[in-house]
């Protein structure tokens, strides 16, 4: 075992330095920041779009006094429920009739309310009427009540702790953490698919296979790619933290996950490593069968779809703590890291994590062994009985 780890370390060190000391690694580090910048730009644009007044406009075809009552009522209601909650009002002439006015080009109103606050008549397309009927009724009612309608002030009683809010916050943390490690895994583990192609193309695999156990080659490659991913994550994490620290509004506090932030971050790191090595070992095993980059590219799509399915499974489970699907997601090795991280956000018990990590590590070992077996059989044209190969020692 010690010899296998030593050999794996030699392979890992070579791969790690080859990747990290290459020029393309700079692109790798900067690449993910580009979508973030684009996202921020689009976010700003989205915000501008959101703040643009897109509320429907309702024409008010009433006499001046009634129209003014409607406008005052609208202003009072807006004060309490927010401007976005109600349609805008705009006075329109009493003639021609609303249906004719709406038919005119450039009328600028979605519907017209005529009559009086006691008997408002809403003219418009059925869909618009459906949407606006309740709002107009509310405004008209407020207009009728006018002075009699008192806006009741709500007394504020603040508490430091709300278990309901905390549970919701923890659920949110669980979801966000799942999304983060999923995207990191999907971004980074995919590269492993093509990892052995270099060795096969350059005929180095023969030298490696003669010198070290194939298990060590697989493990070394996984270790190297995981270490490289951590370098990337550290870089992106620091960048994100700097941006967050720069943009953070004063007084904003994050909800605390059930296990506390330090343990949660540790578990997040461990579960990312497990998710990465689980998928990575699978990808390595699949990719090792491919002999060209083209074959690897062909494998990319089904593999990504598989990842998405696992993610949706784990995401579904996060809302149903303790339910059979959640337990299944925690047990199924590929969804287990995602499900367990979400669990860490919502459940303070630590022993299930220890169990889960051991379970996931066992699967990594099994998947590597199966990958090695397939590699020996189909690439090196070696091997014997499946079971004998599966359980024989790495050096034997």
């Amino acid at each position: 075992m010690r010899e296998m780890l030593r050999a794996a370390y030699v392979i890992a060190r070579r791969d790690f330095t080859a990747v990290v000391l290459s020029r393309t690694f700079i692109l790798f580090l900067l690449g993910p920041l580009l979508p973030i910048l684009i996202g921020m730009a689009l976010g700003g644009l989205g915000e501008r779009i959101a703040t643009t007044d897109l509320r429907p406009v309702v024409g008010v075809a009433m006499n001046a006094a009634d129209a003014a009552r409607m406008e005052r009522a609208h202003a009072r209601l807006t004060e309490r429920v927010g401007a976005q909650s109600l349609p805008r009002l705009q006075r329109v002439p009493l003639s021609p009739a609303p249906e004719m006015l709406l038919a005119r080009p450039g009328s600028g109103v979605a519907a017209i309310v005529s009559g009086s606050p006691q008997h408002p008549v809403l003219t418009g397309k059925p869909g618009d009427i459906d949407k606006l009927e309740g709002d107009i009724s509310l405004i008209a009612s407020a207009a009728l009540a006018e002075k009699a309608l008192h806006m009741v002030r709500v007394e504020r009683k603040e508490v430091a702790k709300s278990l309901g809010a905390q549970a919701q916050g923890q659920l949110a943390i669980g979801r966000i953490a799942q999304i983060v490690i999923f995207f990191l895994t999907i971004l980074l583990a995919g590269m492993i698919l093509s990892n052995l192609v270099e060795e096969k193309t350059n005929k180095i695999i023969e030298i490696l296979a003669a010198a070290v156990p194939i298990d060590a080659i697989f493990l070394g490659k996984l270790m190297a790619m995981l270490a490289m991913s951590f370098v990337g994550i550290l870089f992106w994490g620091c960048t994100a933290f700097a941006v967050f620290a720069a943009l953070k509004a004063p007084g904003v506090s994050l909800p605390v996950p059930a296990v506390g932030w330090p343990v949660f971050l540790l578990l997040g790191t461990l579960y990312f490593a497990m998710a990465y090595t689980l998928l990575g070992s699978l990808f390595l095993g699949i990719g090792a069968q491919a002999s060209t980059v083209r074959e690897v590219q062909t494998l990319n799509m089904p593999v990504t779809i598989g990842q998405m399915l696992i993610f949706f499974f784990a995401t579904y489970a996060v809302d149903h703590m303790g339910s059979p699907p959640e337990v299944a997601a925690a047990v199924f090795p590929f969804s287990s890291p995602f499900a367990m991280l979400a669990r860490a956000a919502q459940d303070a018990r630590l022993w299930p994590h220890l169990l889960a990590i051991v379970w996931q590590a066992a699967w990594v070992a099994l998947i590597i062994r199966v990958g090695v077996l397939l590699f020996r059989r189909h690439v090196l044209k070696s091997g014997g009985g499946w079971w004998k190969q599966l359980f024989r020692s790495a050096t034997g």
Binding site: E3, R6, I204, I207, L208, V212, G384
Partner: protein
């Protein structure tokens, strides 16, 4: 632990018994028995497709045999002796972006040599070979011959007790072939066992103490070069002034007239009775030579003329390339 405890040196560095390796219905190695004495230079000789590479890969544990068993340096699990073995595969392979000295050190590190020691040795080896200036260059910037030399150094940098070379002369020019021969002899002088495969009879004849002639996945001959040559009787080349006479009856039945001379295998009774007949019959002996057959002749006799022709064509093709 692999290779940590020096085991007493076995009499045979490499042993294989009843080895069979099939790919589908093709038996690449068909019941081979082989024993390479420790400290010997041992050649596996045969044309392309004879099963040489598969035999070496099977012995090294890269592939498992379907039948039979093997042992390297007395260990039935070749990987356990990885630190004491150096292997140069037929298909040369190096990481193109790696620097020459790093590539050598990396290959040593794979077999347990500390990287720092490997780097030092790599620089010394490259400088000793006149390649000091290339030590820092990436492999992709080296010529094919230089890259092969780098790989060869990577094979021996960890000072193995057994070196296995698959077609090591392939692709090398005459000067580098000579250097490689010198290097193999130097390793053998140090007590290292060298097992190599080749399709060039001359290399085997010059270097090997023992050879195995492989054809069709089987060993057709195993023994010393001398024993192989002894398989054939010495060849007699006779040139006479007279072209016919009673003395012709004294020539053996297998005599062939070629380029104005008579060629035949030395008769079992020796040369004296023939000489007497030639003198009595006044054949007029111009010249008479008795030559011991070369390994090439022995190879033709053992593996067959077709296999020998194939090897010659392969060699000619390489020289042409």
């Amino acid at each position: 632990m692999i290779g940590d405890t020096p085991a007493p040196a076995p009499a045979y560095a490499v042993e294989g018994h009843g080895l069979v390796k099939t790919f589908g219905s093709f038996r690449a190695v068909d019941g081979i028995d082989i024993a390479v004495p420790a400290g010997a230079i041992y050649g596996v000789l045969g044309p392309n497709g004879a099963g040489k590479t598969t035999l070496l890969r099977t012995l090294l544990g890269i592939v498992d045999p379907d039948e039979g068993h093997r042992s390297l340096l007395g260990d039935p699990v070749p990987l356990r002796q990885a630190r004491a073995i150096g292997y140069l595969p037929e298909e040369r392979g190096l990481y193109p972006s790696m620097k020459a000295f790093e590539a050598i050190a990396f290959m040593g590190a794979l077999r347990g040599l500390p990287l720092r020691v490997g780097r030092e040795r790599a620089r010394t080896m490259l400088e000793g070979h006149g390649m000091g200036a290339s030590a820092e260059k990436p492999i992709r910037q080296l010529s094919k011959g230089m890259a092969q030399t780098v790989q060869l150094f990577g094979t021996i940098v960890h000072e193995p007790r057994l070196i296995v070379l698959d077609e090591p002369f392939s692709g090398l020019d005459a000067i580098n072939q000579e250097k490689l021969e010198a290097l193999i002899r130097e390793q053998a002088r140090k007590g290292v066992t060298v097992l190599f495969s080749t399709h060039v009879i001359a290399h085997a004849e010059r270097l090997c103490e023992r050879i195995a002639i492989v054809a069709g996945g089987r060993i057709r001959f195993e023994g010393s070069v001398s024993e192989a040559r002894d398989r054939l009787r010495p060849q007699v080349r006779l040139r006479t002034r007279s072209s016919d006479g009673a003395w012709r009856r004294a020539l053996p039945e297998d005599t062939v007239a070629q380029e104005g001379a008579w060629h035949f295998a030395l008769p079992e009774g020796g040369i004296e009775p023939l000489l007497r007949a030639l003198l009595d019959g006044q054949a007029g002996i111009e010249s008479l030579s008795i030559e011991r057959p070369g390994l090439h002749d022995a190879f033709v006799a053992i593996a067959g003329a077709a296999a020998a022709r194939q090897m010659e064509e392969q060699q000619a093709g390489e020289q042409g390339a």
